[in-house]
Every structure is written in C-alpha cells, then in structure tokens.
C-alpha cells in the first residue's frame, strides 16, 4: 500500500467522522426540538391551571436570597437592582456583590439606594477573596451590598452564598432584568417536588427593548444584525435545546444569568468552583455528581416561562470574547468532572448528557474544522466530487434553518413574546442569513476558545455594556 492510498483512506476516515458528527448532532437537535414541542404544549396548558397570584400570596413559598455579582456594571447596575426590588415574591433579600469593580458601580449603588455600612455575618465558610465592607439600604431593608476584593464571578457568588440565610438562593448577573413573576415561577418546582436542588429559567435578549423602572415594557428585535442573530440563537438554545434535555432529565446547564439553587446542597459541595470561567455549568455538573455520589434523591429542572432579560454583545470583538470564554468554560467544567464520562455510576448523566457535551459541543467545532479541511482536500485530490460537497453543505444549511424555524415556532406556540408579524418574518430571514458567515464565525470562536483552554488561558475578557433603553412613560 503506497502513501497516496493510505492518505486517501485517512482522508475518507476524516470525512466519515465529520459526516457522522453532522448527522448525530443535527439528529440530537431535531429530537430535542420534537420533545420540546410536546413538553411546551403540555406546559402552557398546565400554566393555565395554576394561579400564580395564589402562589405569590402563599406563605409556603420559601424565603430566597438573590445574589447579583457586579464587576464594572455602572451603566446597568441601578436599573437591574430596581428590577430585583420589584419582584412579586413573599420574602426575599438581595445581595449585590461588588467584585472589586474599578468603575463607579459601588458609588452608584450607594447613592441610588442610600446604603450605609452594616453588620452581617457569614453563615457558611466557603473560601473567598476578602470582604471589605457590608452595606445595607436605609430605605430598603432587604437590599444589601457586599463590597469585596476582586476574585471573579464564581468567587463573588460564593460570598453571596456565605452571607445568605435562606434555604434557596438565586444566582444572577448584575445586568439581568428579572420579570416580576420570574422568581415565583422558577421556585415552583421547589414547591412541587422537595427533591429539587436547582432550577433555571429562560434568558432573553433585551437590546433595543424599552425598559421602564427595571421592567421590559416594549419587546422588539434588536436593531443590529449581530444582536438579532443572538436572539435566534437563544431561542434555539432555550426553547428547543434546554426544554428537550429537561424532558429527558438531562439538564446539564442552568445559565449563570438566572438560576435558583438549594443553598445547603451547594454549601455541602463547597460552593462554586472558582478556577473556571464556566462556573454555572460546572456547578450543575457537580450537583449531579454530588447527589449521585451521596445517594441524595434530586431533581435539576429547566422552567420555560420565568424570564431574565440580558444585554448581548453588539460588536464582533466582544461577542468573540464571550464565545471564546463560553467554550473555555465548557472545556474546564467537563475536564474538571471528566471522571463522569461514560461512567455508569452517574446514570444517564454520565452515559448520555456528559458524552454529548464532551463530543458534540466541546470537540464538535474541532471536528467541524477538520471537516472543512478534509472536504477541501478530498475535493482537490478528486476523492469527492464538487456536487457532493455542495450537497453536503446544502444539507447542513437546511438542517440549521429547520432547527431555527422550529425554534421560532416553539416560541409562537408557547409565549409569543415578539408581537409584530414583521419580527416573526425577520426571524425566518435570520434563520437563512445566519448560515452565511455568522455560524462559521461562531464555530471559529468556539475553536479558538477550545485551543485557548488547551493553552490554559484564564480570565473573562472585557464586556462592554451600553445600558438599557429607557422607555418614555405615558
């Protein structure tokens, strides 16, 4: 066998690998979309049978601490805290953790909410960076701000956990805007099933929506194309992906922007792992691991209707940094818990969810990149015809469009938040357009993130915020 023949076999092997990856990934997406369709239909019906107002007035709703870490959030922090203060929930405290911000985050909070130094002791001892001072609002007794030395988001969350005194805590981004009923809706699984240790809601994009008194009053698609692509991406991820995984009891991610956790379980695990930028995913993976190792009956659920609005990046540079960080976070949390891979001790998490994230989401972009190279090589060497390659890419695009259009359909089936028909048509258009450039760009960032993770790159990178578009009152 000569070199050319061996090379040809290797090339064919890579092509088959890329093809298998493509088929498996898209089949999984299709399956989760179908499952999500069924689940959402049932869920929206169930919601009609539940009186949220009654739940809100119920003394059975457990007290909860909202933990909002803030690092250089001067443009959004006041509005975001106002949104938290408007929560319709019987009993809650807000802990804003100023993680050593270098801008005027602390000053703005002190002035806006009339903060003064106060005494408050930690009730857990998760190791963290030094706490400098604790503040409490003179006007709003449930609002506290903890000023600490910079230690990263996970470290700030750990401070919040240490200082919270309630059975549940809610981890947020300081720039997230929670809808007024978001908390009671996301806590519902904890009421209905005492085994619940974590629950997460949906994240929606607030760019160019109107915000009044910390609440989104007018929903519309962002003006910038890059942000619009992300709206579609989020719909795909939350409406189709997470709901579908939840149906199978395989939730492995709860977004760091909005998730509720049983405090005791998280404290028993030692809190958030600080040596990662993917602390949100790492926490969920470790929750599965901890509960299964300790034989604790548990549930981790995704709830489709509680909404946290968040600002997404609007420039290629910042978006690239975010996606790079997400991929590094994925790498770090999967490697940190790699013993779960194909480990039957962790049940379906170890045998299905973990391998999926490992091979499809983590290694997927690398396989995709190899696919581009080997397809090109196969074309040049005459091992694959031009029409064959073209057909493959057409199928890949068509799959992408199907999944996006299905996600828009799921949104319309359930919560139909985008009121204008033109928004719907734009989303359809985006489903087509994103295949020409945006998808390749995100794949590139993910590959870059993967290799950054291999090189041991740390840190979050700078996120620029423009603040919320404040609506004009009537």
């Amino acid at each position: 066998m000569n070199f050319a023949t061996v090379g040809g076999f290797v090339l064919d092997g890579f092509n088959i690998l890329a093809l298998s990856y493509f088929v498996l990934l898209n089949t999984t997406y299709l399956i989760t979309s179908v499952l999500a369709f069924k689940a959402l239909r049932q869920y929206t019906r169930t919601l009609k049978a539940i009186d949220v107002e009654e739940l809100i007035s119920s003394v059975g709703a457990p007290p909860i601490t909202l933990i909002a870490p803030a690092y250089n959030e001067e443009s959004t922090c006041v509005e975001a805290v106002k949104a938290l203060l408007l929560q319709k929930y019987p009993e809650y405290e807000i802990l804003v953790i100023n993680d050593g911000s270098k801008d005027k985050t602390l000053d703005r909070l002190v002035r806006a909410f009339d903060l003064q130094p106060a005494n408050r002791l930690a009730t857990a001892e998760i190791p963290t960076a030094r706490v400098r001072r604790v503040y409490r609002s003179r006007r709003l007794p449930n609002l506290w701000v903890i000023d600490k030395e910079n230690g990263g988001k996970a470290d700030a969350l750990n401070v919040g956990i240490n200082y919270s005194q309630t059975p549940l805590f809610c981890a947020l981004d300081a720039d997230s805007l929670l809808e007024r009923e978001a908390l009671i809706r996301v806590v519902r699984p904890f009421l209905e099933d005492a085994r619940t240790v974590a629950a997460g809601g949906i994240i929606r994009i607030v760019n160019d929506c109107e915000v009044e008194h910390g609440q989104v009053t007018k929903i519309r698609l962002p003006k910038r194309l890059l942000a619009r692509f992300q709206v579609l991406e989020y719909l795909r991820a939350f409406m189709a992906g997470r709901i579908g995984w939840d149906v199978l009891n395989l939730t492995l991610i709860i977004s760091g922007a909005f998730g509720v956790f049983r405090r005791k379980t998280v404290v028993d695990m030692g809190g958030y792992y600080t040596d990662t930028v993917g602390e949100d995913m790492d926490l969920i993976v470790r929750l599965h691991r901890h509960c299964r190792e300790q034989n604790i009956p548990y549930r981790i659920v995704y709830v489709a209707d509680p909404v946290a609005w968040t600002e997404c990046p609007e420039t290629v540079k910042v978006l690239g940094r975010q996606r790079d960080r997400w991929q590094r976070g994925l790498y770090e949390s999967l490697m940190h818990n790699r013993r779960m891979l194909f480990n039957a001790r962790y049940g379906r998490i170890g045998l299905v969810a973990f391998p999926y994230f490992f091979f499809m989401e983590l290694l997927g972009p690398v396989i995709e990149l190899f696919g581009y190279f080997t397809f090109t090589a196969a074309l040049i060497l005459g091992r694959a015809s031009g029409p064959y390659i073209l057909a493959f890419f057409m199928a890949a695009f068509a799959f992408g469009i199907v999944l996006s259009v299905a996600a828009v359909g799921l949104e319309e089936l359930s919560f139909h938040r985008y009121p204008r028909l033109s928004d719907l048509l734009r989303l359809f258009g985006l489903a087509v357009v994103e295949n020409f450039g945006y998808r390749q760009l995100t794949a590139y960032w993910r590959i870059r993130g993967f290799f950054s993770a291999l090189r041991g790159v740390k840190g979050w990178g700078r996120m620029e915020r423009k603040g919320f578009a404040v609506g004009v009152g009537p």
């Binding site: 093809l19 049932q42 019906r45 169930t46 009609k48 049978a49 539940i50 009186d51 107002e53 009654e54 119920s58 003394v59 059975g60 709703a61 457990p62 106060a118 005494n119 408050r120 002791l121 930690a122 009730t123 857990a124 001892e125 005194q165 904890f190 009421l191 209905e192 099933d193 005492a194 085994r195 694959a384 015809s385 029409p387 064959y388 057909a391 493959f392 057409m394 199928a395 068509a398 799959f399 469009i401 199907v402 259009v405 299905a406 828009v408 359909g409 319309e412 089936l413 139909h416 028909l421 719907l424 359809f428």
Partner: protein
C-alpha cells in the same frame, strides 16, 4: 420497487451517499416550509383568539355591570352567551371571581352556574392539565355545588390535579373537608413541606385536633407528622406543645425533630426544657441549632451558659441560632461583653444586638 432496487445496486457508495443527501435536503426543505407555515398559522390563530376575546369582552363587560347594578338578572344574561361561547364566558367570569367579595362574588357565581356542568364534564378527559384547570375553576365558581367532585379529585391519578383540589379544599370556611384532605396527606409527600404546612394552616384552628392526632401518631410517616407540626405552629396551637415534647423525647428522624423543635419553641413552656437541652448537645447541626433557638425562647438563666457555648459552635448556623437565643433569653449583657472585649465572636454579637435594636 424491483427497478428501484436495481438502480440502487448499480450505484457506487459515493453516489448512494449523494442520493441520500439529496433526499435529506428535500425532506429538510419540506420541513422548513412546514414549520414556517405552522408558525404563521399559530400566529394567525393567536391573533384571531385575541380578536375573539376582545369582541367577547366588549359584549360581556356591560352585561356584568348591568347584573351588578341590578338592571339585569343573571338569568337574562343567557341570551348573550351562545352555546359555543359557554366556556369562554366561564373563563371571563373567573377573572372577576378573585377580585370580588360578598354580594358581587355571589353574583359572579350565579352567572357561572348554568355553564359549570360542561366544565365538570372535562374531568373525564385524559389530559391532566385540562382536568386541573376544570378543578381550579369549579373550586372558585362552584365550590359548594361541586364539593364532592373536588374531594374526589384528591384521588386523581395526576398529582397536579390532586394538589389543585387539595389547595381548593384547604380554606378556613370548609373545615368539613379537613378529614378527607388529611387522610391523603401522604399523596403529597414529594411536595415542599412548607407548602403543605401553608395549605393546612389555611384551614384554620378547626383542623388543629386532627393535626395533633397526626403529630402524636407514631405509625404515621415522619414527613406527614412534620407537616402536621408545621401547621400547628402556624396556627399557634398551644395545646400541641405537650405532644411535640413527646416527639422530642422519642423520635430520631431529623425533619420531624426539626419541626417539633420549632413548634415547641413557639408554643411550648419551660416544663419541656429537658429534651430541648438534650438535643442542644446532639451531633446533628440542624437539630442542635433549632434546639438552641427553642432554648432561647423558653430557657431560664440556667441556659445562658449553654447558649453562650453554642456561639462557639463550629457550624455558623448553630452559632447564629445560639446568639439570637442568648439575646431572647435575656443574655444581652453577655453579648455586649463580647463586643467590648473584642472577642472572636464580637462580630456575631454585634450583628445579633443590631437585629434586636431594629426589631
């Protein structure tokens, strides 16, 4: 079929894959068109539904006002509700039912009455969410008339339906259903303890004797007894202190002990201090903390030392309970001393003293 098989057998592998890709693309294109049309159809349905509701509201709103002011009798309204609109009308009335009280609420119930049998028929449907919604509506608009149906729903195979029925029955003006509800408490064993406690305590003091019986029943599941203890605490039932103290002496299950300690702490008296002091030294930090809390409420000067020692506990929760207990038991001077001397627990003492000043 044979011809197709022959064509396929003549194709090389790459051509087969090519064919497969072609078929896949065709299927995907069909799916794209299907989902797009489905989405637009859903949007149109949503628009139509919103429009329908708008016209129904416009027609029914003056009607409701006329009935409220006595210009129209509830019976007269029937001509304005077509047969196919009956359940929409019930939904519309449901919005007012939660807002109105007294005579207005009775009028709303009266308006809904002729249409409720159609709703009750939904209880035979397979979809649990529809049954749950029917139970919720019946419990608001036809609670007395459909009480039996609601009680029967406690045994519905769907936990959602059963819980909505339970929640509907758990109200102060219906103590007659307490027995039915309490007999099925174990059906709700996956629900949050606090939620169940809130539900039972909503039934008011009339249910206390039955709750006491459950708390004292050593054959009942510990979770059910813990719920009973929680509800008795919410009801401030002083007669249950003795039973709770007995639980502290004989039981070992953490959740039950915790609930009994909370109950004793709130409704007990110093005569129950024996088991509380014993539990303040137990290994379980949850039980230990709650025992110190109870000690703070019921304890005497003899307990100040134990509470002060509790502040040194390795669990910060226990230390916090102990410090708060110390303040409640009249040990402020000990806390102040810690602050003045700059003791390692001075921050804790300062916080608890500040809490005392602000409360």
């Amino acid at each position: 079929m044979a011809a197709l098989r022959e064509i396929l057998s003549n194709l090389v592998l790459q051509d087969r894959i090519f064919l497969l890709l072609g078929i896949t693309i065709a299927i995907l294109l069909v799916l794209i068109v299907f989902f797009a049309f489905l989405t637009i159809a859903l949007r149109l349905r949503n628009i139509r539904k919103a429009g329908l509701w708008q016209s129904l509201e416009a027609r029914w709103e003056p009607l409701i006002l006329d009935v409220m002011t006595g210009e129209l009798s509830p019976d007269d309204t029937r001509q304005f509700v077509a047969a196919h609109e009956a359940l929409y009308f019930v939904d519309y009335l449901l919005r007012f039912a939660n807002r109105f009280r007294g005579r207005e609420a009775a009028v709303i119930t009266e308006l809904a009455r002729p249409y409720l049998p159609r709703l009750a028929a939904r209880l035979d449907e397979a979809d649990p969410s529809r049954r749950a919604r029917a139970i919720r509506t019946l419990s608001i608009l036809g609670r007395e008339e459909y009480a039996e149906v609601i009680v029967a729903a406690l045994d519905d195979p769907s936990p959602l339906v059963a819980m909505i029925a339970a929640r509907a029955l758990a109200s102060q003006d219906q103590p007659q259903h307490a027995a039915a509800l309490l007999a099925r408490l174990d059906r709700f064993d996956t629900w949050s303890l606090n939620y169940l406690v809130s539900m039972l305590s909503a039934m008011g003091p009339a249910v206390a004797p039955q709750l006491r019986r459950i708390l004292g029943d050593t054959q009942a599941p510990p979770q059910t007894r813990a719920v009973a203890a929680g509800a008795l605490r919410e009801l401030r039932d002083y007669e249950s202190g003795q039973i709770a103290a007995r639980v502290l002496e004989t039981e070992t299950e953490r959740e039950l002990l915790a609930a009994a300690l909370r109950l004793v702490g709130d409704v007990g008296s110093p005569e129950f201090l024996g088991p509380i002091r014993r539990l303040a030294r137990t290994d379980d930090p949850v039980v230990r903390g709650l025992a110190l809390r109870a000690l703070g409420r019921l304890g005497t000067d003899d307990d100040l030392l134990l509470l002060r020692q509790g502040m040194e506990d390795q669990s910060q929760w226990v230390a916090l309970h102990a410090a708060r207990g110390l303040r409640q038991a009249g040990g402020n001077h000990l806390l102040e001393e810690l602050v003045i001397t700059g003791h390692s627990k001075s921050d804790l003492a300062r916080q608890v003293l500040a809490e005392g000043n602000s409360s």
